[in-house]
Symmetry: C2
Subunit: 433 residues, 2 copies
């Protein structure tokens, strides 16, 4: 039998083993999906602590329960840092981080280190799927030559696909398997095989004609978001200066039944996608001599929002004859967005830093983040305070509006509230920031 | 009886006369709506030709039929340039153009000239509604002082409202009366009265708390569009350089069921709103010392698209060993968007100009625009050519993709097609531009 047919038959009969590399916010939900469809999965990660927790049935992600992990283990899942096991799998899915360097250029070191680690264990007829977001050309310029170099013929005895993750942590309407899955292949056989595999996993697959198209599509999604958040943040700055309530403006504009999609301002942007992905395209565009002025503008505006919030806080304390030096400030919410326990790139971290620099005494409350761990940039030693003694603070600063917080209590007891999320937008005693 | 109650009673009993100033793309559909609700309307315009046509039952706007004009006339409508008649009306609605000066600053000359003309005929208890788009503050900074100056007490014996038009010419899903109507008033009595009147005209009114909010909301709607069109035009430039089909990218990204709204690239932007409105806010923001970087970026990118299209045309002719000098180019569509007969700010005008400068011989076909009239900027003498002898042209350049055009015929007979609208996006013989 033709090898392509045989691979497809094995996939459809679930007679394959799958390896997922990177067991974070992308990899772990994906493992869950694949196991639900009755495939055997080995999970790979370099974090020994994560591996230990998973193999004990414990989750380290808020919206994934321990019960889910137990379910995975009962259905053959195992987590490991032993790369040699790559040799046992038929499908390799890479979900490693693709962050930025300090110069805001693509940092593909996780991807490259992963490739170095797994390449010795590649075997004939494996399908390699890259899920990590990256610039157009990554699959063909980075993955392809490395794998061709060790003698495989892509589309004949090894298959490469790019299929971008579209995770939206905390989104209850769209879980991973309900989000249409973009898929592409380096060759038509690659596309054929990934279509067969992901067709078994996701409720809908969307085929595109090249890996570059899939890479660009994922970036466009997040560039659209970053730019529109930047735009509405800039509009907030203009509106505030004009004495106009931006939330009322957005609500009014959103009554137009066509041609307008509301975005909402905030204290800056965070998470593992929106602040990062656009710069992947900006970097690639610069290489070919094309400007990306909207990405630049969004980067600048969104990066300056934390300072704007701190200035507003200072100003409003001053109006109450309080100097920010030694003032007591309670931050509500430090996650990068509501209802998640993820602090990556959270603007709260920058705002805390700026407030401390100004001499303020900062505490925080976040029902989902019990303490702020040391990050590459900041070294805080803070633990979430219970929502008591709110009246002791000069200012309560809402940075992330988790749904589980008791806002009525905050409104009742606070001396001054600055709300950067529009949560208390109809309360005249709250400063919109 | 209290005067407010009396005015409201008269409005509800349809015992009032309405005056609409400016009988263009905004004013004329509005007249139609008001007459449908059985109010008497006098239409004012400074263009004697328009007045003559209307009073003869003839329309000068493609999507408004002669039958509609006859219907208006049968129901008491009359068009005039006699400002004295302002003294007979109870409601004055201003729908005059608010364009830009050559320095891209607000040109309120039509509004100011109109006010000068009508002020001598103002009388007690009139309601004045401004529909023209303008910067936040216009109603209170421009209208209000002029009217207070002549002795009226706003909210007591004269009433001022700002209610932005939201026309989308050619939109068949949303006719004027189905688009929720934003309304605001200088005082609460002003709001009360405009609510009563527009509540009788529109299927839904949306009250906002100040005229500035309504002014800003209208601008935000069009800034959102201008910025997103600019963004996707920039993404088209990047994609084209990378050899990626932007339409396939947009289609792929649009399969994401949340967080993404597709916009489409084009040869530039046109019409009476999108290229103009954002600069009204940019001007106001500059006055208060705030940057509007997205408006700036959108203005720049959208303005440079015509040149980009011409360069692409040149390049593709060159690939076929044809010099653009003396080349024969047929433009398809010169309206600013499809299915309208409106050429205002159309990028086609700029592209024709650039092509002529390059030495090309330009003809055009547009089923809705039989000839190109002289404009402030360009002095062409061109008439729409029938779609014959397409093979005689070196290049067919699709700039506006009216639905009524026979594209199959164009594809069959053209030597080279450059499509700037994605109309023929799945045809491999067509250059996407």
């Amino acid at each position: 039998m033709n090898i392509i047919k045989e691979i497809k038959k094995n996939i459809n009969n679930k007679e394959i083993q799958v390896g997922v590399i990177g067991l974070g916010y992308v990899g772990l939900p994906l493992v869950n999906n694949i196991i639900k469809k009755r495939y055997k999965v080995i999970g790979f990660d370099i974090d020994k602590n994560k591996i230990r927790m998973l193999n004990k049935g414990k989750s380290y992600i808020n919206h994934i329960s321990n019960r889910t992990i137990s379910y995975l283990l009962k259905n053959g899942f195992i987590a490991t840092d032993n790369w040699a096991k790559i040799n046992y799998v038929d499908v390799i899915i890479i979900c490693v981080p693709t962050p930025l360097t300090s110069q805001k250029t693509p940092d593909l070191s996780y991807l490259k280190t992963t490739l170095d680690s797994i390449i010795p264990y590649f075997k004939n007829n494996q399908l390699l799927i890259l899920e990590s977001t990256s610039y157009p050309g990554t699959t063909k310029e980075v993955l392809l030559p490395i794998i061709e170099n060790i003698g495989f013929v892509i589309g004949r005895n090894f298959f490469i696909s790019y299929s971008p993750e579209r995770e939206d942590p905390g989104n209850k309407d769209f879980t991973t398997d309900l989000i249409p899955k973009l898929i592409s292949g380096v060759t038509s056989n690659c596309l054929e095989i990934v279509k067969t595999f992901y067709g078994n996993i996701f409720s809908k697959t969307v085929l595109v004609s090249s890996t570059e198209t899939a890479e660009m599509a994922k970036l466009l999604e997040n560039i659209y978001r970053a730019v529109n958040i930047g735009l509405i943040n800039e509009m907030k700055i203009v509106s505030t200066k004009l004495g106009i309530d931006i939330y009322e403006v957005i609500e009014a504009a959103a009554t137009k039944p066509f041609g307008f999609t509301p975005f909402f301002p905030g204290p800056g942007i965070g998470g593992h996608c929106i602040p990062i992905d656009p710069f992947y395209l900006a970097w690639k565009a610069k290489q070919i001599g094309v400007k990306t002025s909207f990405i630049k503008a969004a980067g600048e505006i969104n990066a300056k929002m934390p300072k704007w919030v701190v200035d507003l806080t200072k100003e409003n304390l001053f109006k109450r004859n309080i100097n920010i030096i030694n003032s007591k400030i309670l931050i509500i919410g430090v996650a990068y967005k509501k209802n998640v326990d993820d602090m990556r790139e959270s603007p709260s971290l920058k705002i805390i830093n700026l407030l401390i620099q100004e001499g303020a005494k900062v505490d925080y409350h976040d029902p989902l983040i019990s303490q702020i761990h040391r990050t590459r940039k900041y070294n805080y030693n803070l633990k979430s305070k219970p929502l008591r003694d709110i009246g002791d603070f000069d200012c309560v600063l809402i940075l992330t509006d988790h749904d589980s917080i008791d806002y009525t209590n905050i409104v009742k007891k606070s001396n001054l509230i600055i709300d950067t999320r529009g949560r208390l937008k109809n309360n005249p005693n709250v400063i919109q920031g």
